[in-house]
Amino acid sequence: MNDYLLLCIFLAIAIVFPLIPLALAWLWAFFFSPGKPGKDKGAIYECGIESTGAAQVQFQSHYYLYALVFLIFDVETIFLLPFAAAFLKLPIAAFLAMMVFLLLLVEGLVWAWAKGILQWK
């Protein structure tokens, strides 16, 4: 049970720790700063560049399809790298299994290609 106690203490500290500077800032603002809100003062501070427009803009859903196709290559790499590292010690069946895996991925890509997903409209 001791471990859980430690976890609880850790959790409490984790909650309190970010609250302290927030509370200090709030107290500072309450006691010392004059309340003069304005357009520039209330603006969002982002690297000093003036913000333009709303954050909720529409963008093409096509983007997601691209990201998904990219994922094919991503997953491919994850599996291919250990396979390549241990290549010389693997039996021929492992090579075949890997080729099947690649075939499945390539088939996905070919399908997406033929469906015209790779064309940016």
């Binding site: 039996p91 069946a93 033929a114």
Partner: protein, 496 residues
């Protein structure tokens, strides 16, 4: 040659994947309207070969720490799942899915692969992956009708609730793994009693049950079911209601009996002990009551079938609370019979929907005049669901209730009588709404007098109705193989 051995064990799954790839390729090669019959036939051929291959390698195996398991029981369930999926394919041959038909078939095949894997594994991670493969394919299949907002809504609801429940399931499995240090179900069976009642283990069981509760649409995880059944293309709804349910109950039973076998607890009257049994009993009671009562108020037959499915999930959870070999056999029998019945009912709904443009109760008016064969099939399905002899539904329910009572009665304690009594009372309620549908089919005046042309899937529906009738008359045809397979399985568990 472990890979070759693995490929042999997973041959049905591999064949289905190859079929899916071929169908996808066909879909790319030309106009989907002309190739539609060819793609359907190719899919059916793939399913047929997969079913055949299932039986030409009769060796039993358990490889990769239980990730791939093959035994007689699993084989029966794989066959059932394959049959249900192929019926779904036949139903979808004339479905409202017009565009991207090749992808529709391929997704059905992928979902089937997921269910087959689910029926052939005893490892927590593999269970999760197979469950996700099934679910994700079904989400897409549910939202397939792009023009219909109901379909999109159903897909979104299914996806969101499914995603949350998958998170619950994974968290639960991770807790189980954290306590026991193994992901193999058989290894979990051998844990010590102290570990079995560890609070963390119990929390893991609760979360896991929440995840599976979603899969089998048990109250309080049922909210997606009515919308999905109503909004999804009817073949998809049929697959969700039948194949996915069979796979879900099979793996749930395995999970409870083997994985959590040591922390069963007790749900008999006034003898409650923590474990999965009381949880299951509460879920069963809620499902039976809510499913049957909510079905009374439905005006859409697909929604009605959804609430009836929730109630049936309750009955089957009740059967699982017996936690005996005979009780599980009864549940396995019932879930297969239920899946065959409900897919048949969805077949009739599909035909009516195509003719009359909807699946409201009014759309079934005078079906008997327009298509007597379909009407009689509908009668068989609904009466079997209601549990009236001599149909298979009656026998399955009777056997399930009887085994549950027999397993729990000890001396003067009424045991599970409270739950079985509730189930029987609620079953009487269910008769009312099934008969309402039949009243529309047989008694109500038809909207138009023109007879329906027989649909392509009518022979399949007739065969299903015959199977339900025959299984009611000769239940041993299915029960004996199941009983043998279950006892074979239990015997394999007791081995060191």
């Amino acid at each position: 040659m472990i890979y070759l051995h693995l490929l042999k064990l997973l041959a049905p799954e591999a064949i289905l994947v190859v079929t899916a790839i071929l169908v996808l390729g066909l879909g790319l090669s030309g106009s989907s309207g002309r190739l539609r019959p060819l793609m359907t036939r190719l899919t059916l051929l793939g399913g047929l070969i997969a079913a055949w291959v299932l039986f030409i390698y009769p060796e039993d195996a358990c490889v990769l720490n239980g990730m791939v398991v093959l035994d007689p029981l699993g084989r029966i369930f794989k066959l059932a799942i394959l049959v249900l999926s192929m019926i779904t394919v036949i139903l979808s041959a004339a479905s409202p899915v017009r565009r991207h038909f090749a992808e529709y078939l391929a997704l059905i095949l992928f979902a089937t692969v997921g269910m087959l894997l689910l029926a052939g594994t005893e490892e927590l991670l593999m269970i999760f992956i197979a469950l996700e493969l099934t679910s994700i394919s079904l989400y897409v299949l549910t939202a397939y009708l792009k023009e219909s907002s109901a379909s999109a809504e159903a897909g979104l609801k299914y996806f969101l609730i499914g995603g949350v429940s998958a998170a619950f399931l994974l968290f639960g499995l991770s807790l189980v793994y954290g306590v026991e240090g193994t992901t193999n179900l058989r290894a979990l069976l051998a844990i010590s009693p102290a570990q079995a009642t560890d609070p963390l283990m119990l929390a893991g069981i609760v979360l896991t049950l929440a995840g599976f509760g979603f899969k089998v649409a048990a109250v309080p995880f049922h909210l997606w079911a009515p919308d999905v059944y109503e909004g999804a293309p009817t073949p998809t709804a049929a697959l969700v209601a039948s194949g996915s349910k069979v796979a879900g109950f099979f793996i749930l039973a395995k999970m409870l009996a083997i994985g959590f076998g040591a922390s069963a607890g007790m749900a008999a009257w006034s003898q409650f002990r923590p474990g999965w049994l009381p949880l299951l009993a509460v879920m069963a009671a809620l499902s039976i009551v809510l499913g049957n009562l909510a079905a009374l108020a439905q005006s859409n037959v697909k929604r009605l079938l959804a609430y009836s499915a929730i109630a049936h999930s309750g009955y089957m959870l009740l059967g699982l609370t017996s936690a005996t070999e005979a009780g599980f056999t009864a549940v396995f029998f019932y879930v297969i019979v239920y899946a065959l019945t409900t897919i048949g009912a969805f077949g009739v709904v599909e035909v009516v929907e195509r003719r009359r443009g909807g699946s409201q109760l009014q759309d079934f008016d005078g079906l008997y005049k327009a298509a007597p064969v379909l009407a009689i099939c509908m009668l068989v399905f609904l009466i079997s669901l209601a549990g009236i002899p001599p149909l298979a539904g009656f026998f399955g329910k009777f056997y399930m209730f009887a085994e549950t009572l027999a397993a729990s009665g000890e001396g003067s304690n009424p045991g599970m009588l409270w739950l079985v009594g509730l189930a029987i009372a609620m079953n009487a309620v269910s008769l009312y709404y099934y008969l309402i549908v039949l009243k529309h089919v047989f008694v109500a005046k038809p909207v138009d007098d023109e007879p329906c042309k027989s649909a392509a899937c009518t022979p399949v529906i007739v065969v299903l109705a015959l199977v339900i009738l025959l299984l009611g008359l000769f239940p041993d045809a299915l029960l004996e193989p199941l009983r043998a397979a279950v006892s074979f399985y239990t015997a394999s568990l007791n081995l060191p």
